[in-house]
Amino acid sequence: MTFAQFVQMFANGTMLGFQLSLFATGLTLVYGIMHIINFAHGELYMIGAFAVWFFFEELGINYLASLALAMAFVASLAITLERIFFKPMRGYHIPSFIMSTGLIFVLQVSIISFFGVKDKGVESVFPGLVKIAGVTLSVERLMIIPISLVVIVVFYVFLRWSRYGRAMRAVMQDPDGAALQGVSIDTVCSLAMGIGGAMAAAAGGLLAPIFVVNPFLGPPLAWEGFIVVCLGGRTSLPGTILAAFIMGYIKSFVSTLVDPIAALMCAAAILGVILIVRPQGLLGYEA
């Protein structure tokens, strides 16, 4: 392995880490607050990518504005899904998981019927290459880092200092919701779905120019996100972010050094081992 190769893998891993952080935060929020496992979260990512493609490529709106619009759109979609489908499922892990797979079908087919199954490309917004430490990296990939950092920081500020954010944290730490401070549990649940959806859409929109956009992006990412959530501790947001980077680097390094199938095997094995050996995850509290 040359140094250049290492830097390349490291940069890729970092990018994947940010993608997974944005994506898995929503999964952790809805798990922590509603105790549901929502695999349709991957579809929110996919729809976010489609929305950015639609606003940016088809309607010609500015990229960052498209991203914001996509986040708003997906957030409202997520809240609608929560109200209709997940409300009765609160607290039931496996039934909610099964329900969410049903929603995967519904959302996938809806997107296919609007936009077809063909890959869509989103034109590069930040073209160009830079040389760092003698290694060539594309600007577009590097730009993911500041943008996702902004989204994550805004989210943390909200969580820490707003009344609603504090209520969300209170519910996650104390499932009986004793410390809701006058915020209704339904509001907290909707907020969690909405914020989670917006962050998934952000991840989808950010990666749209790098990867292709198609209706089948969701489920594989949903699995990865779920593994991240379990590894991090299921209700711990810092744990989720730590686990996202661990997964990002494993994926990047193992894929390059061994092969992509080996990376998938590693991910599945991590899921199995963590669930059995340390069910509270890396940073979660003892169940």
């Binding site: 892990h93 099964i98 092969d259 599945a268 199995g272 669930l275």
Partner: protein, 329 residues
């Protein structure tokens, strides 16, 4: 009254069996034969999944283990030249043996943890088929899996399996399905089934009346895997090609959806589920693209409004009618 009901039920079931047994007399269309052959295979896999659920844990490794049955049986036939009739029982044993290693690490966990841990190990097993070209054939899987050898019964011409007619396959799979259902039903009614029920109701109390919970869970999971392997082996030798993606979690989810929508509490639930979804798929063939959408909506509707599955519908309706009657009186 109860007796008459029971007799009526038996007659009904016998009539259904005879009707489907005579199906090839009415239609020999390869298309419909194909639909029904796959349906019988799904019923074996779904009913055996429900059997494992009777002890309270949901396995997500069931479909990968079905694949293991298919791969084992196909490889025995292709590499060792064994006949299907020998390969199938051997594949069942091999699958049960491998299932020990898939499930053993999962056993200390329960509920959600068991479900996803079993997925994880099943998935690792499945990825082995993708990764190791020799002997599993990699992502392209195994091609040209030999058909079952002819059945020779003295006095009548040998029954040949081949591309010309699907009828021998139809009857083979049909008989395997009936036998599997019979065995699973008897198991559930036997002492093993009662122990499973107790373990499901309270793992803790079961231990304290002296039940070795781990051992019984394992036995039940292995029996489930054995029947999944029968389904996999039949599938492999019928379709003559299998690929790792055939046993991806997509099929696992379908099998779970059949089970849930049909109802897990009753033996007949998953059978109803498979019938409904397979026939629905045929009805919706003109708008085949929307099939998953319809599936998803049916699933969501069932989970919200009929959590015990479609099979509980008659019960629910009669309870509702009773209430009306009482209210009127």
């Amino acid at each position: 009254m109860k007796r008459r009901n029971l007799l009526g039920k038996k007659v009904g079931i016998a009539a259904v069996i005879v009707a489907f047994g005579l199906l090839p007399v009415f239609t020999q269309s390869p298309y419909w034969m194909h639909v029904f052959i796959l349906m019988w295979i799904y019923i074996i896999v779904t009913a055996s999944l429900r059997f494992t659920i009777t002890m309270g844990e949901w396995s997500f490794a069931h479909v990968p283990l079905m694949g293991m049955g298919g791969y084992a049986s196909a490889l025995l036939a292709m590499k060792l030249g064994l006949s299907f009739w020998v390969a199938l029982p051997l594949a069942v044993l091999i699958t049960a043996f491998i299932a020990v290693f898939v499930y053993l690490p999962c056993l200390p966990t329960t509920g959600t943890f068991f479900f996803f841990a079993s997925y994880a190990f099943g998935e690792v097993m499945r990825l082995c088929w993708v990764r190791f070209k020799n002997p599993f054939g990699g992502p392209a899987g195994l091609l040209f899996i030999p058909a079952p050898g002819p059945i020779r019964i003295p006095g009548i011409p040998a029954i040949e399996f081949g591309p010309l007619s699907k009828i021998p396959y139809y009857y083979t799979v049909f008989v395997f399905m009936l036998l599997s259902l019979l065995i699973l039903y008897r198991l559930e009614q036997s002492r093993l089934g009662r122990i499973a029920e107790a373990v499901k109701e309270s793992n803790l109390l079961a231990q304290f009346v002296g039940i070795r919970v781990w051992r019984y869970k394992m036995v039940i999971l292995l029996i489930g895997s054995a029947f999944a392997a029968i389904g996999g082996s039949l599938y492999a030798h019928y379709t003559t090609l299998i690929m790792p993606v055939d046993f991806y979690w997509g099929l696992g989810i379908y099998i779970i959806i059949y089970t849930v929508v049909g109802g897990t509490r009753h033996f007949g639930g998953p059978i109803v589920g498979v019938f409904l979804f397979v026939l629905l798929r045929e009805l919706l063939r003109p708008i085949v693209m929307y099939v998953p959408l319809v599936y998803g909506l049916i699933l969501a509707g069932t989970l919200v409004f009929l959590p015990e599955g479609l099979i509980s519908l008659p019960e629910k309706i009669s309870a509702w009618a009773m209430k009306k009657k009482i209210a009127a009186a």
